[in-house]
Subunit: 382 residues, 4 copies
């Protein structure tokens, strides 16, 4: 059951927090708080377990994992004592984190990525490897005709000009290497017809997009509440103040637009109409890995009465994301083993911008997840 | 299909807002915002409709309905123009609002209440009458052995000492008169074994307790969110600041205790444990019919990280409650017609402190409600 | 003592709320809540009084004052009963609200404006007229060499091309007509060397800029608190959500930039350094004349401890601004009578972006205001 | 210039944070953030400096200082690295922290306390010793006739029954030993006519009460803002959620009442009337040394418009208090040197419930403090 988790962006905050967490839980040094598959109703249902996961990945920076771990401890994301206790285990993972290959043609880069995946699988004798993108959010890529057709894509990739954004190139390489692909970011990833075709052809599942860890999570329960009570939401405005590496990147207009769009979908989808208002994202270096989001909702009730609700969410993004990475790796591996291919739409529970025509209310997503777990649990295990 | 709605506390804010609203909707002067049975997925499923409802009730005050309506308009709860347009219709209802009878023995009072119900039914040729308690919240009553047994209760009621609190006496009289009973308050109502026995004997349904209109509504979606994400809620504290008649009463320690207990159940029930913290209720006359509630939730995530959320809810309690009164009248009438007796546990969606062993998360309550509506809709109508 | 108040933007929300308020206070129909000169310590110190004010003005729209009054009542800014009671008085003011003149050359326009001012003064036998700009915020104007020199300006104004933005042209005309000028907006107004020269030459005082009515008012007391306690503010971020005419205009990037800059000065000035963070302004039509502002302040205390404060301000901008218009008219008239010319820097208390090198903390501004009042109160009156 | 700081409650959070801070600042390991006398305008004005302070004190617990320091580091109040670096210095202070003496008669206890103070002074060759109470808040003591007269008090203290609450007994002993006394808690301390008499007789200054570190600090700038703008505050309600040792004690009704009363004075004093509303204090063990306070202010503006403001304060109480202890020790020592006796009312800036008829607005208190500093700074030093 040993299962590889190959992280694109393996030296980033989410990636390293995931690694430390998995090691700590396996060593009995921490409880699996925040891991959905470890909640009372789902515990012991899905294999592989956390202890079966083996980590590796690509990154474009070479900052050592233990340096990043120290930074995360300094920032209050992980306990300092834990990073010390796990120093050797982290050093072992370091061997499997490799620089992102680059070749002159994207086809060559994809081959090099796939080769790294093969090597990882072989070295650890892994049953399967799940590739998860936790790298920096990209801007929307320019459209390209080859995105729509797998044959055309294959042809275009050998040419000198880049055809795919990095997230999609990684997805292409993963699928080529027989690995399911999960995108935890708002980047394009597998969301191109040509890549969907490839996944189905290869019999591989994929999942995404954009981990739902804070303000949008709250929206996904509040918006259904207003809808079920037949209260009319007039405006819903929000501001997200965040520091950290992700924040620095989201301060770039392109990435910001990708993210903000991802955050607004839930309202229109669950309310049935789009209230006035927008979600802003502002970068404040001094906030570090903690994020503060504030939302104001104004709504109309019986006989036109004006009412309002506001909430402030103060969360540590990496601490919210990391346990979901462990859940997604396990669920995607189990889905692959069960023969699923194409988008795993039942994982909408985890994403701001889920694949497929799926409900955006958290409660229905929770039920879909439970149904998936039931389908993936062998009868004798559940 | 004409259905009576007999309100205990008929001259109070919730009652009069319900009446104005039903009249306005019937007259096409207002949209049914806030009425759950008028939301897109449930519209036209349950009969009677809003237009079929006929109002009457008991109260201990004699403040005229149109005076109360003017006060509600002044307080911003209902539009002034509406109270003017509906002046005559309200005056017609005034004929059916009667002083709460009192006799020396409670048995006599119950007879007089039942007689008023009969008269109301007869005068308007109503198919059935639903009694709904929207009167002032009572303190917890002292225990009495006759509460546990219908025979003993009947015997005790003819004695000179009061056995039942007002809400239960009204429930007893309603059931005696063949009327389903709904308690929108945290008072005792039908929650005594002897009255459950009576309801079943008489083949009558009942429902309650304590309309869920603000802070607890929000809790009922946020608490499941934390549970589903396996985040550990450490503390959940709240304060409710409210004015109005209800606020003045809740400033009394007895009523306050009844209400605060009602507000906390949702946490333990949906989280599976009781976090530290309490809900406070403070009366501030100057806030009028609008209520501000503030809640702070502190929670622990992955690897012990501390996070927090706070929300402020600023709502008009009567405007939130009134449309639910219309929903409850219609659903209870339909359940009665369908032959239901005993507690209608599928109405938990509407209540802070629902009857029966039912889920406290709003999403599951929503599903139960939808199942009830499906069961109550004649096949050719749905 | 009859004093004219000539409002540029006389048909806008602030203007009409000011007129209604002055009429209501004079008629004994409302208390002067929000009028600084009517607070216990300053009452009866400054003449003219509210009852001495006579209103007129320019606007580019022709929406009648009573229609605007009805809109303000509908929006909850002024009581409906008041607009009805004052209908005739408002109709009288209507006679003195004139379309903003336009001529081919700006010199001609200025002459026409000045002529309107003269007519107003003559018609009502006014001792003096104070011109106050409460019109739509302009974008920053392009620089022009004639802004720096009065002679050059006079020459340029007769040319065919516009030299001055509307607020400065109005200021020029006012000063030409012997009227003090107050700018309640962030627009340029008298803030050009040529106009300062004109004011001093003419012996006329002027004041501004940008009425301080909400979030910035709060900042002007909180920022000194942090400074006095030697706490280090790390970030200060805010968002302003507002509807209304002003909001619609501020949604335009040019005006938004002018306003946001005006809002941030207080921090650097009172803290002595600029913390990270920005103030955002978002337009939400549905919020109407009420504005919600939210600010997050993170700060560092002893031994580097991180702490935070957030506040939400929910105010009615026109109701906050209007009483200040009455105060400013009275104070500027009194300063004129007392022979003041040039900027009245002691009025910083009223402005986000005050003229001169003045303190930005509210407490010091309050003292400056009190000193001004003392200087303007004749000994036998105070 | 070596000055003793004798802390009653020397093993508590505030005390130990003060000690660590003073040591760290002296060693150049930390900046004096939060120390008012180290802010740009006041720096180097008052002697003794932080480096001149020598710590000792009484407590009823024997938990070692370094254990408490470790707890404070664990709780995030002080950096772990600092407690390690200062281990030896803290161990040195340990020698001067003694168990609170108790004798059968309070006169004997007072003698024993005074003897400890003398020994401390002698051992370190201190110019003077300031006694500061930072021990657990007491309930209001029962009244006693001897509180009103020094002679009667002296007589009563030799009797077998306790006459003074611990804070007043400590104050008595301090004054007897020639030491100025500062009360940072809401306890009685010197607030008895007999003790004021003693202080004046002995030519000793004293100060208090109840350090102003959070919600009340904010109130002391917001309430004047409303007053100066002539806005009518209708309601002001607050809730304080706190853990820590202080929180545990304040959960006791007696102490809670003392504290809540102390917190409300600022409103009536600065507004000139008492708005509706109360301040609640709730203990939540899980919040540790950090406190969250939420306040709602509703106010009325021009023409009766209703508006509102709310704020949330999330602060570390000990980190806010400790630098003020250093300020108070220095200022009180300087006042003593300058020959002051009786209450130092110019220290109101530091206290929720200041001594004397003093302004409660922070700005005026700030000016009084500056005037005091000017009076205390020798001409050649300022
Ligand atoms: N933390 C959350 O709650 C959350 C929620 C949803 C989505 N996300 C997304 O997860 C991603 C990671 O977030 P983070 O906080 O760890 O950010 P981070 O900046 O700490 O880490 C990103 C890492 O990706 C690396 N990287 C950049 N480009 C790369 C490339 N082309 N190939 C491989 N590696 C590359 C960077 O060097 C860095 O180490 C972001 O896209 C973020 O938007 C995070
Ligand atoms: N508004 C909400 O959101 C909400 C939510 C849940 C529960 N409730 C409950 O609904 C009830 C009504 O609230 P409201 O705001 O209308 O209060 P209200 O004070 O305006 O009205 C209560 C009415 O009950 C009458 N009354 C008192 N005792 C009576 C008795 N023994 N028999 C008959 N009438 C009696 C009073 O005279 C008054 O007219 C309260 O118990 C409240 O706790 C309200
Ligand atoms: N309300 C506040 O709290 C507040 C605070 C600070 C500044 N201000 C400023 O006060 C001004 C007025 O605000 P409002 O809410 O009344 O806006 P508004 O949109 O209701 O009114 C502005 C009026 O100005 C008129 N106008 C536009 N251009 C004009 C011109 N060139 N000459 C004459 N009239 C012109 C418009 O027709 C309109 O009637 C705005 O600039 C706003 O930024 C308001
Ligand atoms: N931290 C703040 O922001 C703040 C602000 C205002 C007032 N205060 C007051 O300061 C005091 C100390 O707060 P803390 O957080 O350090 O509390 P704490 O509980 O950590 O410390 C109090 C210490 O006093 C000791 N003590 C109790 N009774 C004593 C007695 N009779 N004589 C000597 N020592 C005694 C206790 O053993 C304990 O060590 C409290 O009264 C608190 O209300 C604190
Ligand atoms: Na808040
Ligand atoms: Na808030």
């Amino acid at each position: 059951m040993r299962t590889g988790v190959w992280l694109i962006g393996a030296r980033g905050s989410v990636a390293v927090t995931s690694m430390i967490g998995a090691l700590a839980i396996r060593a009995g040094l921490a409880a699996p708080t925040g891991c959905v598959l470890e909640s009372p109703g789902l515990r012991d249902r899905v294999r592989p377990g956390i202890g079966d996961l083996v980590f590796g990945g690509h990154d474009i920076t070479s900052v050592p994992l233990d340096k990043k771990a120290a930074e995360l401890a300094e920032a209050g994301v992980v306990p300092l004592a834990l990073t010390r206790a796990l120093h050797d285990d982290l050093a072992a993972i370091e061997q499997d984190v490799r620089p992102l290959p680059t070749q002159s043609a994207q086809a060559g880069t994809a081959d090099a990525i796939a080769a790294d995946l093969e090597r990882f699988r072989g070295r650890h004798g892994l049953e399967r490897v799940v590739v998860i993108n936790v790298s920096t959010t990209e801007p929307f890529p320019p459209p390209h005709p080859a995105h729509a057709d797998l044959g055309a894509l294959r042809a275009a990739l050998v040419g000198p000009e880049p055809v795919l954004p990095p997230s999609s190139l990684a997805a292409y390489a993963a699928l080529r290497a027989g690995c399911p692909y999960v995108d935890f970011t708002p980047s394009t990833g597998t969301r191109l017809p040509a890549l969907d075709e490839l996944a189905r052809e290869a019999g591989l599942p994929y999942a995404g997009h954009d981990g739902k860890t804070g303000e949008t999570l709250v929206k996904s329960v509040l918006a259904p509440m207003f809808a079920q009570r037949n209260l009319k939401v007039r405006t819903w405005s929000g501001i997200n103040l965040l520091g950290g590496g992700d924040g620095a990147n989201l301060a770039q207009p392109g990435a910001n637009a990708a993210k903000a769009a991802s955050k607004q979908r839930v309202l229109a989808e669950t309310l049935g109409y789009a209230p006035q208002g927008e979600t802003r994202i502002d970068y404040l270096q001094d906030l570090g890995d903690f994020k503060t989001a504030w939302d104001l909702v104004t709504f109309e009730g019986f006989l036109g009465t004006s009412m309002r609700m506001e909430f402030t969410w103060h969360g540590c993004d990496s601490a919210l994301a990391a346990p979901l990475i462990l859940d997604l790796a396990r669920l995607t591996a189990a889905a692959h083993r069960a023969g699923r291919s194409g988008p795993i739409t039942e994982l909408a529970f985890f994403f701001k911008d889920p694949l497929g025509q799926v409900p955006h209310g958290l409660a229905e997503q929770w039920q879909a997840l439970n149904a998936l777990v039931a389908a993936l649990s062998p009868p004798d295990e559940s």
